[in-house]
């Protein structure tokens, strides 16, 4: 053990984070295994914990915590009559979710979740980007079925309103009798309580967990009052069969600036924290769904840098890592009931 000279470890880490992380990943002697500044191995992730139904005002909610990143998601359902939807077409049964904007995800970082996110201003670029990413992934992953959000009504017969049986159940369409009178709109609000890197993975996991937890009340249309009435009895859960999970890693090159020639040496750091995110330019996010044993990739996005090659992205190690991460999240979400 060399005698401690000059600065202590923590001071050095603060003053010069990049060489510190590099020195940790490339230990001078073989006795110490390579580790990151936070003590994790390069591919080691923070174990997620999930807590469902912690909010009473929301129709579904989830709290997801990975390390020091904590996000709470609350889903509220509100109704909109089809007559109030601009450009409503009854024949449209394919793209209702996106055409009528029935899913409204928003992310709030400005809760003092980290010193750089203080309330008072407009949402930061990061918050806007995250909201948009969640929004587009919700639609592209086809996580929800539009029929869960439809509220049906049968046009009453002339003499009596014989059949009061409504809801989004299986309908026996009798010509012109049963029609969609309204839709549920899901407001998905994500609040970061604590922020320490990798916001998208946590936010997306919270969204999926909260959607699986969401129960919509039984709803029917009252033609006299021209409004939707709901019943508290046996609310109906949403059908969420798939479980896409997002896995993020950053690439650390060992060079502080891009001008320096990278000698091909790099480290893939899974589930980065704030410090690592600030030191790395290249990020890769893969959204994967392993439900039922088969591995399906829903999206891969890679930003910045040129280190991560197509070969590496499709390598077995990388996909195996993503599958392990999927299992972590999936067992945390399903096991917390």
């Amino acid at each position: 053990m060399a005698p401690e000279v000059g600065l202590s470890r923590s001071t050095f880490a603060k003053l010069s984070p990049h060489p510190y992380l590099l020195a940790n990943l490339e230990p001078s002697d073989d006795s110490t295994p390579p580790a990151r500044s936070n003590g994790r191995a390069p591919f080691e992730v923070r174990k997620p914990t999930v807590n469902l139904s912690s909010l009473s005002h929301a129709h579904g909610s989830a709290l997801v915590r990975t390390g020091d990143t904590t996000v709470i998601c609350g889903i509220r359902a509100e109704t909109i009559l089809t007559e109030n939807i601009p450009n409503y077409r009854a024949s449209n049964t394919e793209t209702e979710l996106s055409d009528y904007d029935l899913l409204v995800p928003n992310i709030e970082l400005a809760t003092g979740s980290a010193p750089q996110f203080l309330p008072g201003g407009p949402p930061t670029t990061l918050a806007q980007t995250l909201s948009t990413k969640i929004y587009s992934l919700l639609h592209s992953s086809k996580l929800l079925r539009a029929e869960d959000l439809r509220i049906w009504h049968s046009r009453p017969a002339e003499t009596s309103f014989a059949d009061e049986e409504e809801g989004a159940e299986e309908s026996e369409p009798k010509e012109g009798e049963k029609y969609v009178v309204a839709y549920w709109v899901l407001y998905i609000d994500l609040f970061f309580i604590s922020f320490d890197g990798n916001p998208f993975d946590a936010a997306w996991a919270a969204t999926v967990a909260a959607l699986r937890d969401t129960k919509l009340p039984q709803a029917r249309y009252d033609p006299d009052r021209e409004m939707i009435l709901c019943s508290r009895k046996d609310p109906k859960p949403l059908t969420v069969e798939s479980m896409p999970i997002s896995c993020t890693a950053v690439i650390f090159t060992g060079k502080e600036t891009k001008d320096q020639p990278a000698d091909g040496k790099f480290w893939l750091l899974a589930d980065p924290d704030t410090l690592e995110e600030s030191l790395c330019d290249e990020t890769v996010t893969i959204v994967i769904d392993c439900t039922g044993g088969s591995r399906r990739i829903l999206s891969i996005s890679k930003h910045g840098g040129t280190v991560m090659t197509a070969k590496l992205l499709t390598s077995k190690e990388f996909l195996d890592w993503a599958s392990t991460r999927w299992e972590d999240f999936a067992s945390a979400i399903t096991g917390s009931h």
Binding site: I80, D101, P115, Q128, Y187, D189, C230
Partner: protein, 312 residues
């Protein structure tokens, strides 16, 4: 013009669900004496919000239920999480608050010189915190709460120890009270604001202690209310009121109180006292002070427990 920096949803407005069947159980103030307050504090050094349920096991002998933890947001200088449990026999009408403290840190160059610490408070309800969905922009009631909180804390902080520096205190209400539909119908939300303010003061005080900012004392919030009984001609004062448990609330008072100095830093009185009654303003204020004394004992117990467990 809609806010383009957020996802706004459908163009025309949506309606929250309207229920036509009543709620299952009626509210009542059973199992609680008039001067019993609900809170009970619990602090852990680096706790998880998920595990709060386990703390209640050793607390069952007491009538008070409140959960307080510090250190929820490690990147902030100080943070606390407060949870007031829902009442017996009811599901889900508790209160959940988080508070983060950032600073003291240097003011921006553009700011004018200040010989004292500049305190800024920010109270925000989450959109899912209340019965009606709230927007992301702060409304007037949230600004009002921020101002009250600022006054309450300003009296406790020793501000001249940090010249030229600023502190940001952010309180997020994850869940407010009054889940029930009749809370909206009976227009009792205005009384719940008092309880929310009391919770904000308590949680901010714990977060300031966690941040290690010097205070003259730990300030704590307490609420008392004058309520009418069923027949309407008999009034009594209760501590830590829940408006739904009573027939009607005539007046309520929220204080921020420093017990060791016997000082009140903020006082908010609302409502009208009946002319004939034997209650006056002083009696209501002193009962509110009594409520905050109760809260204070619980905060200091949980804070000292947190210190003890970090030293071990």
């Amino acid at each position: 013009m809609a806010d383009r920096r957020r996802v706004n949803g459908p163009g025309s407005s949506t309606l929250p669900p309207v229920y036509d069947d009543g709620e299952l159980n009626a509210a009542s103030r059973r199992q609680r004496a008039p001067d019993a307050i609900r809170p009970l504090c619990e602090t852990k050094p680096i706790p998880t919000i998920c595990s709060y349920m386990s703390y209640h096991e050793n607390l069952e002998t007491k009538t008070l239920r409140l959960d307080l933890k510090t250190g929820v947001t490690p990147s902030a200088s100080g943070s606390a999480y407060l949870e007031i449990e829902p009442r017996e026999g009811e599901h889900g009408s508790g209160m959940k608050l988080t508070c983060t403290v950032h600073g003291p840190r240097s003011l921006p160059r553009s700011a004018p010189f200040s010989p004292y610490m500049v305190l800024s408070t920010h109270v925000k309800f989450a959109p899912f915190a209340t019965k009606q969905r709230r927007g992301y922009l702060r409304d007037s009631s949230e600004k009002d709460l921020s101002t009250h909180l600022e006054t309450a804390l300003r009296g406790a902080l020793i501000a001249d120890r940090w010249p030229k520096s600023g502190v940001d205190i952010v309180v997020t209400i994850i869940e407010g009270e009054s889940t029930r539909q009749d809370a909206v119908e009976r227009r009792v939300e205005e009384w719940d604001v008092m309880n929310v303010l009391g919770g904000c003061i308590t949680v901010a005080s714990a977060a300031i202690a966690d941040a290690g900012i010097d205070c003259v004392d730990t300030v704590s919030g307490g609420v008392a209310a004058l309520v009418a009984s069923k027949d309407g001609n008999d009034a009594s004062i209760v501590l830590d009121p829940v408006a739904l448990e009573h027939e009607s609330v005539m007046a309520a008072c929220c204080v921020a109180y420093l017990p060791n100095r016997d000082e009140v830093t903020n006082l908010w009185f609302k409502g009208q006292l009946p002319l004939s009654a034997s209650y006056n303003h002083q009696s209501l204020v002193s009962r509110a002070v009594q409520a905050s004394r109760g809260t204070h004992g619980l905060i200091s117990a949980s804070l000292s427990e947190a210190i003890g467990s970090t030293q071990n």
